[in-house]
Structure formats: structure tokens, C-alpha cells
């Protein structure tokens, strides 16, 4: 997985990571990616004044240390390729500093920045996708600049719920496959075969393959992929490509089967991003369970939601267990299935709004992708909440696979 050559330098701007037992996990994730965590140097005397200078007077000296290190990055004292801002989960003071520093560093330096709040249970595997995206943006800018697919390439997105595959030829999608993820390799083979059958091409015609998603490493090895890449990068690229928004700013929201992502994109390259995954209540799984409870196919849930009024249903929890319970109670009290479907869609987007869009600056156009974008009630609920038009590009469930096929074509030319 690790790239050869010079390590990518990532400034670690953190509070408490060395005391929370996660420092070694951070180091482990970084070394897997041939990245090096560095600690921007600053004058210790600045810790007494940085709070006022930054305008944020906090009580914790380590948070002031974070500010001083962020300033060292912005002023170029520390030469780094990306920044990882992190602090303890559940610390309100740190959350304020973390969010403001992320914005400050990104706006003032243009460096890719991600932030994360950890617990003692945070593992290297959890950190890996986030750090991988960060190192990719720093390391493979030339590849990410690609806006056209060339030759014949395939992309496979091995997601937690479904596996998607596309075959592309001369900048067109000529075949697609979409199957539930059961056995990772077999599902990938089936999805790719579907795409090949539709395209009329054979495996040997494919000049390059890209893989992404949870199963990317396993299927990458199996198919001898030219490019194995996390989904933040692949999905952003696929989203702006399909939405024909490759230049300028955009915001990509990807609601997947198990997690969701909010990504601020500039010229097709991700900048700030957040990645959910702690709570299934903000994922497609919540909608799947709602559909099952209403006795409708997941594909029909959206049309049902469009006809309903979510406000008519009282929901006391975002939790996938208690939230569904609220919906069941509403049905028992006589709510219509349409209203319940609308409430479920609203619940998912509201949770994404509260948990993730607060950390990413929403710049239009807003591109909604992932399997849940096909449920018509979801883009409507998101548009209603944000009061902006939401773009759902064609093949919006295939963005990861399309991004993979597009970027893999860089290896055809080479």
C-alpha cells in the first residue's frame, strides 16, 4: 500500500493524543502510507499570547499549542504536505479549536487538512482511510488533475453494502454492474462481469483497473489493479466528473450503505472532508430498515417520501434502533407510510447536516451521490434543509467505480 519515494510530511496538530493511548495508532497508520508525522516547531513563549492573537482564549495550554503549531504551518515555518488536526472526542473546548484551526489552515495555506476526534478505542484502521486520502492529495496531484478517461479501463468499488463496477471506453461508461456485497471477491467478480457483458468487451480488453471502497486492497490484489485508492478521492473525482462540475468549487455528499462523507472539492480535488461511520442512523442502512418496516422495496421508498410530510411524524432519536421505533410508533398512531418515509429521509439528512456539514464549508454546486441519492426523498429533504438545489448526477451510485476507472486511465497513457 505504501508509496515509494520520499515520505509525505503530515503536520500533527493535536491535543491529548499522546495521553489517550492513540499516538502509536496514528504513527502506525502514517507509516503504512509512507507518511511521516511531524510536529511544527514554535517558540514556547508564544503559548502565553497565541490565544489573544488568534482571538480564541482557551484554558487548555495544549489547545494553545495547537494554535501555535497551526500558525507555524500557515507561515511556512514548518514545511509539510498536509495537516491532521485531532483532539479528544467529547471535549467541547477542543472541538471549537479543532474546527476553527481546520478552517484557518485550509484557507490560509491551501494545504489539505482533515480533522478527527479520537477515543482510546481509535485504531490505525479507522485512521487509515482518512490519512490515505490526505497523503493521496499531497502525493498524486498530477493524477487527480485528470478530467478525461482514455482507453478501456474498469473501476470497482467494493462497498460495505454493495459492490459496483464500471467499464469505461474513450470517456464513456459502456458497462456497469451493481450487486450486493456478500463475499468480497465473488461480488467484485460478478459486478465486473455484469459491466463487461453490458459493454460487449472481455477481461483482456481492459487496459487498467482501479479499485476503491472497503474491500479495495483485497480486490486490488486479486485483479492486479493499477490503482488502489480510498473512497474520498475516488468518490470526489467520480462525483464531479458525472455532474460535469470538474472546475471550480463543489461540495460532494456521499450517503453510503454504512457511512457517509462530506467533501469540499476544488477543481475535482478534495480539500476539507469529514467521514462518518460511527452511527448507522445517518446511513443508507436506516433507509433500508425503514423500507423493510413499511413493506416496500428500497427503490420505492423515495417516491413514497416525496408524497409525504415528515413534520407529521414525531422522531425522538436518530438512532437506527430507537429511530425506527419512533417510526413504528407513528404508524401505530395512524401516520401514513408516506409521512413516515419522508420523516426517515429527513432524519438521515438532518443528521448529516448536524454532524458533518458543520465541519465542511458547503459551496455550491452540492452534488449528492451514493446509493441513497437514488431515493428521491433524500435529495429533496437535503435541498429543503439547506435551501439550495441539490444535483444528483446520472449513475450517482457508481461514483466510486467511475472515479476509479477515470483515474486508472492515467496508467494507460503512462
Amino acid at each position: 500500500m505504501s508509496d515509494k519515494g520520499d515520505p509525505v510530511l503530515i503536520a500533527l496538530v493535536s491535543c491529548g493524543s499522546e495521553y489517550a493511548g492513540v499516538q502509536s495508532e496514528l504513527e502506525k497508520a502514517a507509516s503504512t502510507l509512507n507518511a511521516k508525522l511531524v510536529y511544527p516547531e514554535m517558540d514556547v513563549a508564544t503559548l502565553d499570547t497565541i490565544g489573544m492573537e488568534f482571538g480564541l482564549e482557551v484554558a487548555s495550554p495544549d489547545l494553545r499549542l495547537m494554535m501555535a503549531r497551526a500558525k507555524a504551518v500557515v507561515e511556512g515555518v514548518a514545511k509539510v504536505d498536509g495537516v491532521f488536526v485531532t483532539s479528544c472526542f467529547r471535549c467541547a473546548e477542543a472541538a471549537i479549536v479543532r474546527n476553527e484551526l481546520r478552517r484557518y489552515i485550509f484557507e490560509e495555506s491551501g494545504l489539505p487538512v482533515i480533522s478527527y476526534s479520537f477515543t482510546e478505542r481509535t485504531t490505525a484502521a479507522t485512521l487509515l482511510t482518512r490519512l490515505e486520502a490526505l497523503t493521496t492529495i499531497a502525493r498524486r496531484k498530477h493524477l487527480l488533475a485528470r478530467t478525461k478517461q482514455t482507453g478501456i479501463t474498469a473501476g470497482i468499488d467494493s462497498g460495505s453494502t454493495t459492490t459496483k463496477a464500471v467499464v469505461m471506453k474513450d470517456n464513456e461508461i459502456v458497462g456497469e454492474g451493481w450487486v450486493p456485497t456478500i463475499k468480497v471477491l465473488e461480488s467484485a467478480e460478478t459486478a465486473l462481469q455484469q459491466a463487461l457483458d453490458q459493454s460487449g468487451l472481455k477481461t483482456e480488453d481492459i487496459q487498467a483497473i482501479g479499485t476503491t471502497g472497503y474491500g479495495r486492497f483485497l480486490i486490488g490484489e486479486h485483479f492486479k489493479a493499477d490503482l488502489v485508492q480510498e473512497e474520498i478521492t475516488m468518490n470526489s473525482k467520480g462525483a464531479v466528473y458525472l455532474a460535469d462540475q470538474q472546475k471550480g468549487p463543489a461540495t460532494v455528499i456521499d450517503i453510503g450503505g454504512m457511512d457517509n462523507k462530506a467533501i469540499s472539492v476544488q477543481d475535482g480535488i478534495p480539500g476539507m472532508f469529514t467521514m462518518g461511520g460511527i452511527c448507522a442512523g445517518a446511513s443508507g442502512r436506516f433507509l433500508e430498515m425503514t423500507a423493510k418496516r413499511l413493506g416496500v422495496e428500497i427503490t420505492d421508498l423515495g417516491d413514497l417520501a416525496i408524497k409525504g410530510m415528515g413534520e407529521n411524524v414525531e422522531m425522538n432519536s436518530y438512532c437506527i434502533v430507537f429511530g425506527i421505533q419512533s417510526l413504528v410508533n407513528s404508524l401505530a398512531k395512524g401516520s401514513s407510510p408516506e409521512d413516515v418515509a419522508a420523516a426517515a429521509c429527513h432524519s438521515v439528512v438532518e443528521q448529516i447536516f448536524e454532524q458533518q456539514l458543520q465541519e465542511v464549508e458547503v459551496k455550491e454546486p452540492l452534488i449528492l451521490v451514493g446509493g441513497s441519492s437514488l431515493i428521491a426523498g433524500v435529495p429533496k429533504a437535503l435541498g429543503d434543509l439547506l435551501k439550495i438545489d441539490v444535483i444528483v448526477p446520472p449513475h450517482s451510485q457508481l461514483i466510486g467505480a467511475v472515479g476509479a476507472a477515470l483515474l486508472a486511465s492515467g496508467y494507460v497513457s503512462e
Binding site: 495521553y19 493511548g21 482510546e120
Partner: protein, 151 residues
């Protein structure tokens, strides 16, 4: 000789003063040295593993951030051993720094709650205040049981 907990818990000056007056300073440096030298634990730079925040549950509930509980896993046992305490308020970062305000609040509370002799003193900002600062700490240390007055 009394076991004296100091605050800030990593203040080299305070630790040194306690030692000069014949007492045993309970300070973070010793704790950190011990875990760094623990054979078989490889979690640099401080060798704190996810086990420490769990041990910290003795002093702070699970809703308290992991960084606070990890720190308390080191500081809490020192407070338990303490027979006296010196708390310096509003000190400069260069005098000693605990890093986390929530840990500071909890540390000071637990020291005060213990019912041991405590000297609470403000960090000095002038030479005159500095002399008074050293004098008061010296007098406090001399007053502790089995304190070494001869030194």
C-alpha cells in the same frame, strides 16, 4: 519525610524545592520516566496505551475525554499517595504545564478534597513576589512532619 504532590505536576522548580527540603516530590517526570522505561511497551513518545484511559476511569467517568483519563491514570495514583500538596496558581507555561484544563481542574480538586496540608500560592511576577514565593514554600515544607530542617 513527607510525600508532597506538586501542581503543576511537572514543575521542575517545585520538584527540586521539595527534594531540597528532604521530602519526596510526587511529580509527573518520575511517572513518565517509569512508563517510558517499561520493557515491552512500545507506544512512543510516552508509552501510554489504551489501557491508561481505562485505568483513568477510577478518577473520571467514561464521558470524560480519553486524554483526561489517560493523564489521570498517571496523576491519580500520585494524589492517592500524597501526604501534602503545593498548588501554584496562574503559573507561566515555562514553570510547568499540564496541557489540559479539564485535567488541571480535576487534579486540583482531588488534591484539595484529600484533606492533607496544602499550600496554595500564586505564581510570582516581580522579584519581591518571587522572594516571598520561595519563602512561603520553604516555610511550608519545613512545617511538614519529619521535614529536614537541617538542609
Amino acid at each position: 519525610m513527607a510525600k508532597v504532590i506538586i501542581y503543576p505536576t511537572n514543575s521542575l522548580i517545585l520538584s527540586d524545592m521539595v527534594e531540597r527540603f528532604g521530602h519526596e516530590p510526587l511529580a509527573m517526570m518520575e511517572k513518565i520516566k517509569k512508563i517510558i522505561n517499561t520493557v515491552g511497551v512500545d507506544s512512543p513518545p510516552l508509552n501510554i496505551t489504551p489501557e491508561e484511559p481505562k485505568r483513568g476511569l477510577k478518577y473520571a467517568a467514561v464521558e470524560v475525554p480519553a486524554g483526561v483519563r489517560g493523564r489521570m491514570a498517571l496523576i491519580g495514583p500520585m494524589i492517592e499517595l500524597a501526604e501534602a500538596g503545593i498548588i501554584v496558581g496562574d503559573s507561566s507555561i515555562s514553570f510547568g504545564c499540564m496541557g489540559c484544563a479539564r485535567t488541571n481542574e480535576l487534579t486540583k480538586f482531588l488534591i484539595r478534597e484529600k484533606g492533607i496540608p496544602i499550600l496554595e500560592i500564586k505564581y510570582p511576577h516581580t522579584e519581591e513576589e518571587g522572594q516571598d514565593f520561595v519563602y512561603k514554600i520553604a516555610e511550608f515544607l519545613k512545617s511538614l512532619p519529619s521535614g529536614s530542617d537541617e538542609k
